[in-house]
């Protein structure tokens, strides 16, 4: 079977949330000598990105998005094991993620966490209403690469600014990359507070986090 056909089958398995089929395709691709990294990137990841776009248009809903992510993880486990055998597995990175103090919104954060976890990023989700001290402590203890924060209220987004200031005050700013998100946040806000990146939605978050890890 040609490469493009395999990629399309992988994409379809994700869009149909068919875990069994995704696992079959992952195994079959290995037997047929396909590059596991390509299968992940051009096949299954492409499927999850398309799922994310359909979610953004309101054509699929949260349970399907989560099922798609689960399907992706099942396939990724097989392909990453193959990459490890070849010595090709690179640890992508580790990220601390939290909804800031005073804010209990976490639906969007949950979607971002699901999407990021399919990209081989080790995510530690601290939950919601998390203080700056807890975030910084977790980042230090876990030796994280990135700190991500979500705020859905104009009154709580200031915590993101306080985080930046707290990191500077403790001479930790250079140790972590920071990314922010949430409905009232903008690139302008990220620039103002000194965050390294801003993402408008889950799909953009994946791209931006991967870009931050490459720098």
């Amino acid at each position: 079977m040609g490469k493009q056909e395999l990629f399309q089958e992988a994409i379809d398995a994700i869009l149909n949330c068919n875990k069994e089929e995704a696992v079959n395709i992952a195994n079959r691709s290995i037997l047929e000598g396909a590059d596991p990294a390509e299968m992940l990137n051009m096949g299954f990841s492409a499927g999850i990105r398309e799922m994310g776009e359909l979610f953004g248009c309101g054509q699929v809903f949260l349970p399907q998005l989560i099922l798609g992510a689960e399907t992706m993880k099942a396939a990724a486990t097989i392909l990453e094991a193959e990459l490890k055998k070849k010595g090709d597995v690179k640890k992508v990175g580790k990220m601390i993620f939290a909804t800031v103090a005073g804010d209990v919104h976490d639906i969007g954060k949950g979607i971002v966490v699901s999407m990021l976890s399919t990209q081989g990023i080790d995510i530690i989700d601290l939950g919601r209403d998390v203080s700056i001290e807890t975030i910084i402590k977790a980042a230090v203890d876990e030796n994280a690469d990135i700190i991500g924060t979500s705020a859905l209220l104009t009154t709580t987004m200031v915590e993101q600014q306080k985080l930046e200031e707290a990191l500077k005050a403790r001479n930790l700013r250079g140790r972590f990359k920071t990314i922010i998100g949430g409905a009232p946040c903008t690139q302008r806000w990220a620039d103002k507070i000194g965050a390294d990146a801003y993402a408008e939605d889950a799909a953009e978050a994946v791209d931006k986090v991967i870009a931050l890890l490459r720098v």
């Binding site: 809903f61 949260l62 349970p63 989560i66 104009t154 009154t155 690139q187």
Partner: protein, 348 residues
Amino acid sequence: MAKIRTRMGDGAVVQMDADEIKRDIENGVADAAKKARVDPLTDEEIKRLYEIVTDRRKFVSVEPGNELVLSYDSMPMKLNRVGIPVDRPNLMRVFERGFGADMLECAYVHYSIKPIKVNLSEEVAFFAESLYGSIAPILYGAMPNMGLYTKPDGPCENAAELLPVGKIKEAQEAQMEAAHYLYEDIMLVAGAMYEAGADGFNFDTTAATGDAEFYAVLTAIEKLKEKYPNMGIEVGMSGDFIFGFHGEVEFHGKRLAGMFPHQQVKIVEEAGASICGPVVNTNSNRSFAWNLARAVTMTKAASLIACNPIHANVGMGVGGVPMCVTTPIDCVSRSSTAMAEIAKADGL
């Protein structure tokens, strides 16, 4: 080319030229038409919208005769929030006699159904006193806020924690359990207020936690109208599409997840509500022109299809208005004018 002073979706003041504004309006209209699958604005409407956005005056308004009826959400908190502590019965008088409000709303400071239940008898007493001092219709208002029924705030399992670990069925069951509790509390609170003399009930930010919450509210409205046929019910929505947190909930055979404003207003009518307040959310990263064009396109589609009055939500982060704590009057007045003239809303 002379620049025009306008704003971004987060309220920041920017200078844009005419072509940029025109392009943003066209793109906003196109985005709305594509996402919601509704007709775009006509060329004439786009031209008028451009005139409204680019008007050099700070405050823009309608011609006499084209005014809109005003209803409110969280009315009692509006003045208290800016540091003017006024008790609620007097607050009703301030809005009616000072601000010219057409409809009034009494509410509890927490503004959610669940906590009102705890103080219901005291709350009914406050409300009854408010009725003595006002002539305008008074609704009692609250947000359904189904999130309060899930852990750690309530007894039901939290779907936001179950879903990321793949427990889809459990998450859906937890949401329906929470929806049942919400329904029971709505019947209790709305019924008590109506029997105390309220002219009706206002549901604010309906479906904020998704389709299961929407289901609970619609079911309660149907039952309330059965029990109190003359009860006025206003339903203010929370978003331009119903978030499919459950994904499979139906009301009258129609799936609620993914409904856009023109679909939301019809299902709210079917349930028996009197007024629907569609919401189109503001994107902080886009310009005011883009956001307003998008909001007006979706709201117009809702107005065209609705039999009941439409009170478009125009406020912080909705109806084209920027998402900032103090909503700028230049944007609020333009949004209001556009909703009256182009979206053909009946009220705000």
